[in-house]
Amino acid sequence: MPQLNPEFFVSQLFWLAVFFTFLFVFLWRVSLPRITTVLEKRQNKIDENLSSAKELQEQAMEIEKKINDQINKAKLETDGKIKDTINALQEGVSSQLSSLDKDLEKKVSDAEREIIKNKNDQMKNINNEIANITKLTVGKIAKIELSDNEINKVIETHKGSYN
């Protein structure tokens, strides 16, 4: 078996030492630090991106909160305004209604007064009418010329019966 031939043992050990030492030192000093740098750089980048993503998320949440606040505020404001408007409208309607009522009352009372006045006027006139009619009727039927005083006297005595 060639493996047990000691002729080249020293040679193999020598070159193994040379090449393995070279490989070890080269990897230790040159290659591995490069890969370490790359991996660290990548990890840093990932961490950075993650933290900035977190920050952005927080900002977004803040903005969302603000938006919700504003929506709520706007809702409250519109609610208030709607209420105010309703109240104002109701007040306007009721005041108009009451003024209408007042007008109507006034008109009714005016009308009543007018009616009473007219009635009174008519009552006054009715005496004259009665006197005239009586005078004419008596004159035509009985050919008697009655004086106004006489007629009025008669009317006064019967007044309560038609009034």
């Binding site: 493996q3 080249f8 193999q12 193994l16 070279f22 490989l23 990897l27 290659s31 890969i35 750089k41």
Partner: protein
């Protein structure tokens, strides 16, 4: 069978250029050449692919990072935070064995991990390093590593020698495991390759098909043995930190 056709001929070492230093023969051989190729492949690949240092990696850079993370994860799983200091060593060891095995899978290429002297040297470095580390971390208390707590006292005369022997046989088991796997795999491939040539008519396609399947298995074993070598190194380092 003639020596020329022996399945073990592939493990013979041929000097490429004869060098002598202080009376020792340190010729540059086909084994040294395979090591050179291995080291060049690893250093060039790991340097070129990560050259751009881009945050979004290219496919090749991703392979480098994958291997880096594979060993980093292995170390942190077995040793924990203490393991970070040994990462360059374990990574070099893993890559050296892995690419050495893979280079050996190239036809006509020499497999230096199939030589016990090479694997034993690597295992010895791990063993001596870990033992020194154990004494640095625990001082003389490191010897309590051989004392298993919670065992009846009369068992200790039996158990302590067993523990010592198992500790001392670590470099042997570590090196022989890798060496034997490589030796067996490559010998088997060569034997079946011999069948392809020597079998009559078209029946040679059967061993050929077997070789194709076996090559896949050998590539798996090449990775697996490198992984086993690395994970056992990690476990030994862990033992140097945590006694029983």
């Amino acid at each position: 069978m003639a020596a020329k056709d022996s399945p073990l001929k592939q493990f013979e070492i041929d000097p490429i250029s004869n060098i002598e230093l202080g009376g020792y023969n340190i010729s540059f051989t086909n084994s040294s050449f395979a090591m050179l190729i291995t080291v060049l492949v690893i250093t060039i690949f790991l340097t070129v692919t990560v050259n751009t240092r881009s945050i979004i990696p290219s496919r090749m850079q991703l392979i480098s990072e994958l291997m880096y993370n594979f060993i980093a994860q292995l170390l942190s799983d077995t040793v924990g935070d203490n393991g970070k200091r040994y990462f360059p060593f374990v990574f070099s060891l893993f890559m050296f064995v892995l690419i050495g095995n893979m280079v050996g899978m190239i036809p006509y290429q020499f497999t230096f991990t199939s030589h016990i002297i090479v694997t034993f040297a690597l295992a010895a470095v791990v063993f001596i390093g870990v033992t020194i580390l154990g004494f640095i971390n625990h001082g003389i208390k490191f010897f309590t590593f051989f004392y298993i707590p919670g065992v009846p006292f009369y068992m200790h005369p039996l158990l302590i020698p067993i523990e010592v022997i198992s500790y001392l046989s670590r470099p042997i088991s570590l090196s022989v495991r890798l060496f034997a796997n490589m030796l067996a795999g490559h010998t088997l491939l060569k034997v079946f390759a011999g069948f392809v040539v020597s079998m009559p008519f078209f029946t040679g396609v059967f061993p050929l098909a077997f070789i194709v399947a076996l090559t896949g298995l050998e590539i798996l074993i090449a990775f697996l043995q490198a992984y086993v070598f690395a994970i056992l190194t990690c476990l030994y380092i862990n033992d140097a930190y945590h006694l029983h």
